[in-house]
Symmetry: C2
Subunit: 473 residues, 2 copies
């Protein structure tokens, strides 16, 4: 199998947006895509330091050069994971935004869906139970976590991983300090710091100060924004800690998928390249079809991929008064929620389905299940077949009602495919940013090496300043 | 305290939408609201049967008349809950959409955030661990649930609650039948059926057929749509099962809050009535300010309220080509996700914050926490104070950038307040539907008793038909 077999974009419902656009605009769009493709290739050839400056070092997460201070090998991550597995019954990841969602999403997609129940009951051994915190000031869940750990006498078998590139994110820092206080004076020895390896990071400063040493310090590499960091130590450590066999093998599988998309992104011509074709669909929907929202509709069981994509997309390409809103849902759950609004509400939406082709399971409805009437057709059917029929039926219905619809399929829910898929979605956002000219200075129209707006998010400064003012009052 | 003290709408950022509307339109809007208020009052006076016909029987969840076939008392629900607590170590709720989100949302908001870890570890006793399924065909999580229950030898201590008004919802029925098959031939005696008490329901038919008897059968009352059902047995049974003290007391608290909002909705004049004022804000945002999305921003820790509101709003008032899209997030988590897009992206959004005034917790950052620079101001601060400052800062920033913003505050996160809050949000949707004339026949413009579009969702039939066609192929 190769990339074009693995990732297939079924775009039979995309004509709805293209029919609305004049053909010379579409010709221009396609020549823009060719230029963007060539530019990305050239930028990659210029090497890692250049990618760092452009905040695109995430494209090399699988191959950070060994001479770079941010380099950390699979073996090193696996080693830290092994010591966490040996020492801890609980791992708490403390982060918010991109410092949180990468690991949460991987845990949700790739680990046992009842991981903690299995661990607490002693049916998964040698792997800690997994919790997440640090994404709010509301004390409700943090209080609950501390109560739970204290009641179970687990505080001295807890390792925390504080994830913050700058180390100055208030929500994360406060939760981290409260957890540290609960753990006691040797908290640093039971804390992994995942942060920028520079004096700008408060966590890095703490390590340098020498009052204590972190159990480990892992890099969020320069040029890798939080929302682009899932394939850095931000996501990889959790994946290694929770591997059900050998952590190294799992990390190698992850990088195999990531590498595959990386190479396809650079070398596969835009007209055959799913990242480019999805960006093209979104851009035409927005600019010519006047759509204001994309329904992001992974049609398989997941709880976090939509949250991850909302952050990725909305912080990156909702800029300069443009950018589709993302309505994240999951199929078929969303069919019983926002679907009525897609077909009966304002016609301001395009839809992107994602689906594995192989659900890897033959669980079926019993032949003699007491189902009557319209449900009789499900007797003996595998759930995978029902899921596939449900997706097809939904896509066909949307298209018949003139809702622009595309479906991206990928092989299956495994580490390699999920890494390839998430990397592909980051590439979609990268291309969309260029289509919106976010790499050009808005006044002069000149190209910029740094400060491409796709990779910064200056809109968030306002509330931070006002929050601090409110505290000082 | 009374309702107007408990629920306060801070609307200092709503002028942004009203300034865009001509004053005579606003005058008309306010006289419409008065008519709607009077109509709702009159309809309530006509009694329960009338409310059933109008699909508004949910407004009387707290007082279904005893002579009605759907009547079930708090004592009866508490009794069923007591037998589940006595017999089961696991309760699995099987449902999708409104038959799922009511119970999920209450469990998330009102129970211990680490409920299952505490139960499995034996630190909460006499209350089962809680799981949800039935909202997808994807076998991933259902397979995981069965594996987990089998590995732990818990299948014979599991009770399932199948929630489906019609009993014909395919996702729920399939998961239910697979669970039933795993439990064995006496599955009915360990199953609660929460369904419509009429031969139209397959679950009701099964009970009547007499091959077995359900452990209990509970009504989703006539005239109560799934998305309006949280205060019916759909939500109440779970609340009773997981009560940390007396189930009856908890259910009485729930109804106290529900009753309070019910009475305020009927009697408090529109200009002082938060349900009416929020609907007014949404309607002006949509019609005159050309906003296409509402950011629904509960600013306190929760994971499900947004999903519940998306379903409530989008199935109800996204009709006839209108209706705002709902972008659901949580504060401050969303500040690190979609916030950049609110201020830098398309100016197509209005924002509704929800916040408890009392977080009920004095957890504070240690005075000597090693925080430097901009983080120093947090030393010694309670998390509740930080959360409040964060909300204020965010609201002030939005308003300064001309993003229409309103903030609804409620007393605290307890059973009574949450029931009052969720009822209030259902009332907002009811009023918004009337403002959109969804109670009028779209051709003749005449009032209809039944088929008010707010309470039906006919957009979903298309995909269901096509899904069945795809299975028959």
């Amino acid at each position: 199998m190769n990339f074009t077999d693995d990732f297939q974009l079924d775009a039979f419902g995309t004509n709805i947006v293209y029919d609305a656009a004049p053909s010379d605009w579409l010709t221009l769009l396609d020549s823009n895509l060719k230029v963007i493709h060539q530019d990305f290739y050239n930028e990659d050839q210029e090497g890692y330091s250049n990618l760092v400056k452009r905040l695109r070092a995430w494209t090399w997460c699988h191959k950070v050069p060994k001479d770079h201070r941010d380099y950390v090998s699979i073996d090193q991550i696996a080693e830290i994971a092994a010591s966490i597995r040996a020492e801890a019954k609980v791992l708490v990841t403390v982060g918010i935004g991109g410092s949180d969602l990468g690991a949460r999403t991987l845990h949700d997609l790739l680990n046992h869906p009842y991981h903690n129940e299995m661990v607490v009951a002693g049916k998964i051994t040698g792997i800690p139970e997994i919790h997440f915190t640090g994404d709010t000031f509301d004390p409700f869940r943090l209080r609950g976590l501390l109560t739970m750990l204290k009641t179970r006498n687990l505080l001295d078998q807890t390792v925390i991983n504080i994830v913050s590139k700058s180390g100055t994110t208030a929500e994360t820092a406060l939760a981290g300090m409260i957890l540290a206080d609960a753990i006691g004076s040797d908290w640093m020895s039971r804390t992994v710091a995942t942060t920028g390896l520079s004096p700008k990071s408060l966590l890095y400063q703490l390590q340098e100060k020498g009052d204590g040493k972190f159990m480990a310090i892992l890099p969020v590499p320069d040029g890798v924004g939080g929302r682009f960091s899932f394939a850095s130590p931000v996501g990889l450590l959790l994946l290694a800690v929770t591997a059900d066999s050998d952590p190294q093998t799992r990390l190698r599988d992850a990088f195999e998928g990531y590498t595959k998309t990386h190479e396809a992104f650079l070398t596969l011509a835009p007209e055959k390249n799913p990242a480019y074709q999805i960006a093209r669909f979104l851009h035409a929907a927005e600019v010519f079809c006047r759509k204001s929202a994309l329904v992001f509709y992974p049609y398989f069981d997941n709880k976090k991929l939509g949250d991850w994509f909302v952050q990725l997309y909305e912080e990156s390409v909702q800029e300069r008064g443009s950018g589709l809103n993302i309505l994240a849902t999951t199929g078929p759950t969303g069919n019983h929620s926002l679907l009525n609004g897609i077909v009966n509400g304002a016609r301001d939406k395009a839809v992107l389905f994602l689906t594995p082709r192989d659900f890897g399971d033959v669980m079926a409805v019993p032949e003699d299940a007491p189902l009557e009437g319209s449900l009789k057709i499900f007797q003996g059917l595998t759930l995978a077949a029902a899921q596939t029929a449900s997706l097809r039926g939904t896509a066909e219905d949307f298209i018949s009602r003139m809702v622009p619809t595309a479906t991206l399929s990928f092989p299956k829910r495994d580490t390699s495919s999920i890494f390839a898929l998430m990397r592909l979605l980051m590439d979609v956002v990268a291309v969309k940013g260029r289509l919106q000219s976010l790499h050009l200075d808005p006044i002069s129209g000149k190209r910029r090496i740094a400060d491409e707006e796709t990779y910064i998010q200056n809109g968030v400064e306002g509330y931070k300043i006002r929050m601090r003012d409110n505290i000082k009052k």
